[in-house]
Every structure is written in structure tokens, then in C-alpha cells.
Symmetry: C2
Subunit: 108 residues, 2 copies
DNA sequence: TTCAATAGTTCGGAAGTATGGGACTATTGA
DNA sequence: TCAATAGTCCCATACTTCCGAACTATTGAA
């Protein structure tokens, strides 16, 4: 049975998006989610295995509250997906610009 | 006599840019600087007169360290300018996307 | 049904960060 | 030389972030 949990924020704010993605770990989580067809459990989406579970949970909470991801629960796992369409509707071009900058930085 | 002070960061990082602009006051400072032909003193660029001088000074330090602005000293005032070309060279499209999102948010 | 395993959340303390008041520096103009 | 102005520096308080430990919820097996 799949059910939505932790309903994501209704109103996505710019400050929320920027401060959420200002953290390199959260940015990598979002990048990972978009690459992997957009659905991963929390631990699977972790960019670094040494991060404490509680810290990771906190990062996902921040991403949810910023309206960047939506989480549904399937069995014991949580499935996380980027709300790409909602973000694009609210702030056209923003997410892509940030992700491209992230690629540019990694490539440098 | 004009002289450069507080040399701005050499390497502009994405995390630095995002966390600097995640603060609404700093984002408004950058918007204000770009509107007013890009040069304003610290107090003139303050979006809100009730902010403490020390807090404002701190915001400008963050913007400088993120590489977003350059500060030169002319007499008793500091002149601040957005390093638009440097930012564009490092992260094409990023600053414009953020500023347009800011306008979109304010208009909503 | 009971028990263990797994996935996340919540709590609390330690460490880091932001805010603003007051003292300080530097420049100008009287 | 003195007062005024623009910013910076320092410090105390308040707020965040990180992690370990305890907790909840779901599944699957004995």
C-alpha cells in the first residue's frame, strides 16, 4: 500500500529553495533523485554513507518543507521524488540553472 | 581617492552563492545594486532601515566572501557593485534565473 | 502471534552561526 | 582639532545543525 506522508509545502518560496539547495548534500540528493528516474528511498539517495541517519532524515525534512520533494511511503521504505513540474511552474528555469551550475562546478 | 577594499573571493562557489542569496535581505541588496546602476553605499543599499549597522555590515561581508559583490572605498563611503560578469562567467544563467524568480515571487 | 530486522523520525546535548548593541577606526569638513 | 558620518570588530544571546540514542512502523519469518 502506497500512501503520501509528510505532505510537502503548498507554497514554494525562493528563500526556501535556495537555502535548501545551498547545502551540498541536499543538492546532491536532488541531483541523484532526478538522475534515477526520480524515485529513491532516503538511504539510497544519500550521497555519502557516513552521514548519520538522523542527519539524513533532517535533510529530507528540509527538502520536503521547501517543497522540493514529495515523499510517499511504500512498505518500510519512503519513496522520494523531486517536484520538478511544481518548481518549474513557480520559478521557471531556476532548478535547471542551479543544476547546470552544479554540473559546471563539478566539472571544473 | 578610490581604492579597493576587502578583496572579494577569487573562486565563486555554488554553495556560497546560493546560501548568500537564500537570505531575503541579501537578495534584496543585490537586486537594489543591479537596479541602481550597480553602485551604492552600504546604508543606501539596505532594504530596511531598522537593520542594525553591524548586521548590515555582516551581510555585506557574506556577499563579498561569496564573490557576489565588490567593494571599493570612496571617501567615507563604501561603493558596492555586483560582480555580474564574473558570476555569469562561472555559472551562466544562474544569477538571472534567481533574480527572475525573485521578481516572480514578489509579483505573486 | 511473537520476534527480529529494516527504514525513518524524534529527542537532547554539543558545536557552530546569526543578530544586534557598543566600542573602535577612518575619512571628511568645519 | 573637533564633530559627524560610514563601516568594522567584539562579545553576549538566540537560533541551527549535527550526531548518537531511543522510539515508531512495517515486514517477514519462526
Amino acid at each position: 500500500m502506497v500512501q503520501f506522508v509528510h505532505p510537502a509545502t503548498k507554497d514554494i518560496t525562493l528563500a526556501g529553495v535556495l537555502s535548501a539547495l545551498a547545502d551540498p548534500i541536499r543538492l546532491q540528493i536532488v541531483r541523484g533523485l532526478l538522475q534515477e528516474s526520480g524515485c529513491l528511498s532516503c538511504t539510497a539517495a544519500s550521497p555519502c554513507p557516513t552521514i548519520a541517519k538522523s542527519t539524513l532524515s533532517n535533510h529530507f525534512r528540509v527538502l520536503r518543507e521547501a517543497g522540493l520533494i514529495q515523499t510517499s511511503k511504500k512498505g518500510v521504505e519512503h519513496q522520494n521524488a523531486v517536484r520538478a513540474a511544481d518548481i518549474e511552474a513557480r520559478f521557471p528555469g531556476l532548478l535547471m540553472a542551479i543544476l547546470q551550475s552544479s554540473v559546471a562546478e563539478a566539472g571544473a
